[in-house]
Symmetry: C2
Subunit: 375 residues, 2 copies
DNA sequence: CTGTTAGCGCTTTCAC
DNA sequence: GTGAAAGCGCTAACAG
């Protein structure tokens, strides 16, 4: 998961059946208008067929990479398509075919930077294959999410869906999607819900981060956990424990406090930690927003980061570079993750036996918020 | 777009004809599947016509709010539509009609929180009227923006476009859109490019902000300007001057430095200001990111905000609440602005004589980054 | 005020 | 390997 950020304010949450679509056309200069500025008639499949001396159906076959076309014809058709700058009319395709060429990305916190990035990645994948992406922001509520998604899927004739945390782990929803035979691809699902999608080894990433803290001399390292409903919270907590164990540090449960991925929860959790009789010298927050909150709480007490307390987060959202001090955090290739999730989904849509789970690498971003343990 | 996915690029940025689409369907519980989970056949306009005892065309008229239908028939058809939970097939509409039910939002910085919010608002408007939104991230480059947009518009048969700064002020583009008879709606355009869209009185907002600073005792108030290509930079600068004038403070050009809306530029600008022989006691940055950068620079020198220097920004992006100290800034109702821009555009699409410029109110968000002038 | 007839541009049969 | 015909679901055009 991703930690959603709860920045209110931000970003995007889209709506229904609207989506945002971008067209490759942008990258090209299709010749759709002459100098007079009057649009020229659109090139149709019929024109391509005539020009190539084949039937419409053959052109269609080439376009959709279907079999039963000789390599020679295929090449000839491709050349004409290219020359005429032909682009199939999406609506006609949808109407005539049985596919909708539409996939949706389901998410519940439209304003997180994390999701925006992911969305861009999914969009990359979709546009590359001429699929459309529908944004489906949901107010996550286990009670009716199944029926909501069901009507969305059926109404919009979705060809597949990309799931983001914590929706990735709603067993009832996953089961229903399977019944409806709608392929789904997950981003950072928990172990038990993996099938098609993308994951990063968050656990190892966190363990590495803890090792970094330990190398700076810290022994009392606290952890602010993420929202309980998110699988990521569990992974990150496990990584924290691994890191401590690897360093031979006795875990102290008093140093593990609950947060919920929001700035405010990080702020409150840090205050709690600092009030402890034997406070930590370093804090690992399960995401950047909470880390920012922790830094706020520390500063508010007149203490300094990292001189008095080191703080680190997870996600490397933009805020990590925009707060003072800049935040040490774990970077996941968010956009790439979205792209890969989209790619795997499209594979599965084409062939139910395709599509798999891909693992992407993380990177530790060491910045100014972590430093040597105070003397 | 439509149905396609829309965001081009970006995260949506995708590409082509893909977009993010969200469907109202989400909000409903269309009865598209029986208990067995098997989807039922989709209700078509023909079914509605038969059920209501009228022709398809009449149903179509009711659906599109066209004239020439008696109120009685209208009501009867509406009832059947409701009972059958009929929803027109978007692709069929597009294919048959001459409208694409697709508008695009043109922007150039896909990752800003500001744009994400705006996008959500535009999406709100689109989905409410069953329009699709295509996201069209552009790498803004005056040289070829006209042809890029032109091919996008023609290729995707856009019904209209929403422009965001600084694209709002590209005269050549606006002229071309007019030639192509594509309605356009702008968000925060400069005075000379206003016609349909949304604006806030940024100038007064800034003047008020300066008055706030003055009321705290500040006399040496600096300004970090925004990117020169953005109309907003000029407004905010004008507001700064107004504020100073109203307070009877002699402007000092040394206190006005160029920024470019980025964190780094704010950081650099603040450093420059602090190095001045007679440095300012307060800094008004033209946006929040630069204000954050200024705070970073100030902290780096071991100074404290607002004890040594007060800082304020503009936009009230999420970062304003997530940095320490929290940032005093001007809040614009970004999402609402997107919604209104979309609404006015749709009006103009329906009737070329409709749609206008609406002004929305701003609010000063007084937080912790501004305080009394140091003794 | 209302209905009938053609397609929109593409993909599906199903034939060759 | 390839093509001809028949729609997908809706709206435009032209009747009444």
């Amino acid at each position: 998961m991703a930690p959603q950020s709860s920045r209110a304010g931000n970003p995007r949450a889209p709506g229904v059946r609207d989506g945002a679509v971008a067209d490759d056309a942008l990258a090209e200069s299709a010749g759709f208008a002459d100098r007079t500025g009057r649009p020229m008639a659109r090139v149709r499949i019929e024109d391509v067929a005539a020009e190539a001396g084949v039937s419409m159906k053959t052109v269609s076959r080439v376009l959709n990479e279907e079999p039963n076309v000789s390599e020679a014809t295929r090449e000839r058709v491709r050349a004409v398509v290219e020359r005429l700058q032909y682009r199939p009319h999406p609506s006609a395709r949808v109407l005539a075919g049985r596919k909708s060429y539409l996939v949706a990305m389901l998410y519940d916190n439209p304003s997180s930077n994390y999701l925006m990035e992911v969305e861009l990645g999914v969009l990359d994948a979709c546009q590359a294959q001429h699929y459309n992406l529908m944004l489906a922001p949901l107010v996550y509520d286990a009670k009716d999410i199944v029926s909501k998604v069901e009507s969305l899927v059926l109404q919009s004739r979705l060809d597949g869906v990309v799931l983001t945390p914590p929706i990735t782990d709603d067993a009832a929803l996953l089961a229903r999607l399977d019944e409806l035979e709608i392929p789904w691809s997950s981003i950072s699902p928990t172990e038990s819900n993996r099938r098609i999608g993308v994951v990063v080894d968050e656990r190892s990433a966190v363990a590495e981060m803890i090792a970094h803290l330990v190398s700076l001399g810290h022994r009392r390292v606290a952890h602010i956990k993420g929202h309980a409903a998110h699988g990521a919270s569990a992974w990150r907590l496990a990584g924290y424990r691994d890191g401590l164990a690897q360093a031979g540090i006795e875990p102290d449960e008093a140093l593990v406090v609950q947060g919920e991925f929001s700035y405010d929860s990080g702020f409150a959790a840090a205050n709690h930690l600092l009030d402890l009789p034997d406070p930590p010298t370093a804090i690992f927050a399960a995401n950047d927003d909470m880390a920012a909150g922790a830094i706020g709480a520390i500063c508010e007490r007149g203490l300094s980061v990292p001189r008095h307390v080191s703080v680190c987060g997870f996600d490397d959202t933009p805020i990590a570079r925009h707060i003072y001090p800049t935040l040490t955090t774990v970077r996941q290739p968010t956009r790439e993750m979205g792209r890969l999730a989209g790619l795997e989904l499209l594979k599965a849509i084409r062939d139910r036996d395709e599509g798999g789970l891909v693992t992407v690498p993380y990177t530790l971003q060491l910045r100014r918020s972590t430093g040597p343990r105070p003397a």
